[in-house]
Amino acid sequence: MSVFDFANPERFERLARPIAVPTGALAAVLIGAGLYYGLFNSPPDYKQGETVRIMYVHVPAAWMALACYTALAAASAVGFIWKHPLADVAARATAPIGAVFTAVAIVTGSLWGRPMWGTWWAWDARLTSVLILFFLYLGYMAVWAAIEDKARAARLAAIVAIAGFINVPIIKFSVDWWNSLHQPASVFRADGPTIDGSMLAPLLLMALGYTVLFIALLLASMRNEIAARRLMRLEGAPGRPVSTVRKE
């Protein structure tokens, strides 16, 4: 039995169990407050009017899409180099969360683009590279789903994750390197934010809420995966939970 099967997951479980529910509750409070400030208690934009409120959902989701992929790549590297199975579990758990944040960013961006730009979608460098990010998440998840042996799946998925990480700086700098329809960064830029404080505050509150939500979902997903692996081991069917065993 590996280290994974005993010591670390149990220590993780002891740490995660008591904070799982409070983290989820905190995320709900922060996102609830962020949505209230963003949607009802912040000024309309001088040019976009009320449509600016889409930003409070869209921009932090896009940040999380990049942050989750960075976490995914980092956890994959740790899992690949140090053979730390808990890191593989963390990487695997991060992927669907990041994929959902990416989808939220794409859909809300599209809803904003229609009234502001005049189009739902444009094949500019930013939009296209974010769509590629979404497919990278799906591809990563597909590798895990396609390979039965968990150790092998973790290795191959880690290679996909690391190779795909090059897309993260491309997304970030796409709006600076090429002419794009998407506007340049308003918050993370060298000369300081170009967004008024009354709009930046709810935006950062939402970003904090999303981050805590990510932690809550990650903990829940990792605990789930660890419990499933333990169950599999107890049932003596390595690589596949008994409930879905198919005779092939």
């Binding site: 934009d45 040019k47 600016v52 590297a77 189009t119 444009a122 090059i166 002419n179 709009m199």
Partner: protein, 150 residues
């Protein structure tokens, strides 16, 4: 090398190869990765491109002219160096106005005007309430249109 170092080298190589492949591809694609030409890009070409292109820049203040029946609008898209005249028959986006960023898709007519099939508004990175915008204008610190179409 220990196995751990081998794995580190392998994963480092995977990333380096992926980065090189993507970097070379993007360099080779060059211009075509850009969503639009700026007026100065077009001015640098020997002849105007023959197919459908996109042009991005600022709507030159005072250049917007509607035909008498309002069926067509003519305006000039400019950047710091050059400008390109455009003609468009269709519905303009809400954000379209003088001094604002715009991306126009169409092909050049024989008169050297870009005949637009679609006009998109390009929003900039500035977000502020109306009162702040007015205060900035009053103080003469207004930077409207800066960076757009660069």
């Amino acid at each position: 090398m220990t196995r751990k170092q081998q794995r580190t080298a392998l994963i480092g190589a995977v990333f380096t190869v992926a980065a090189l492949a993507v970097g070379l591809t993007l360099t080779a694609l060059g211009r075509s990765v850009a969503y639009f030409y700026s007026p100065s890009d077009l001015a640098a070409l020997a002849a105007p491109p023959s197919g459908t292109i996109r042009l991005g820049g600022l709507v030159e203040p005072g250049s917007i002219l509607y035909t008498d029946d309002k069926a067509e609008v003519r305006f000039v898209v400019r950047d710091e160096i050059a400008s390109t005249p455009v003609v468009y028959a269709g519905i303009l986006p809400d954000l379209f106005s003088e001094g604002e960023g715009v991306v126009v898709e169409g092909r050049f007519g024989p008169d050297g005007r870009l005949r637009a099939a679609q006009v998109l508004a390009k929003h900039d990175e500035n977000y502020m309430p109306r009162e702040v915008a007015e205060a900035l204008k009053k103080q003469g610190r207004w930077k409207e249109g800066e960076r757009v179409g660069e």
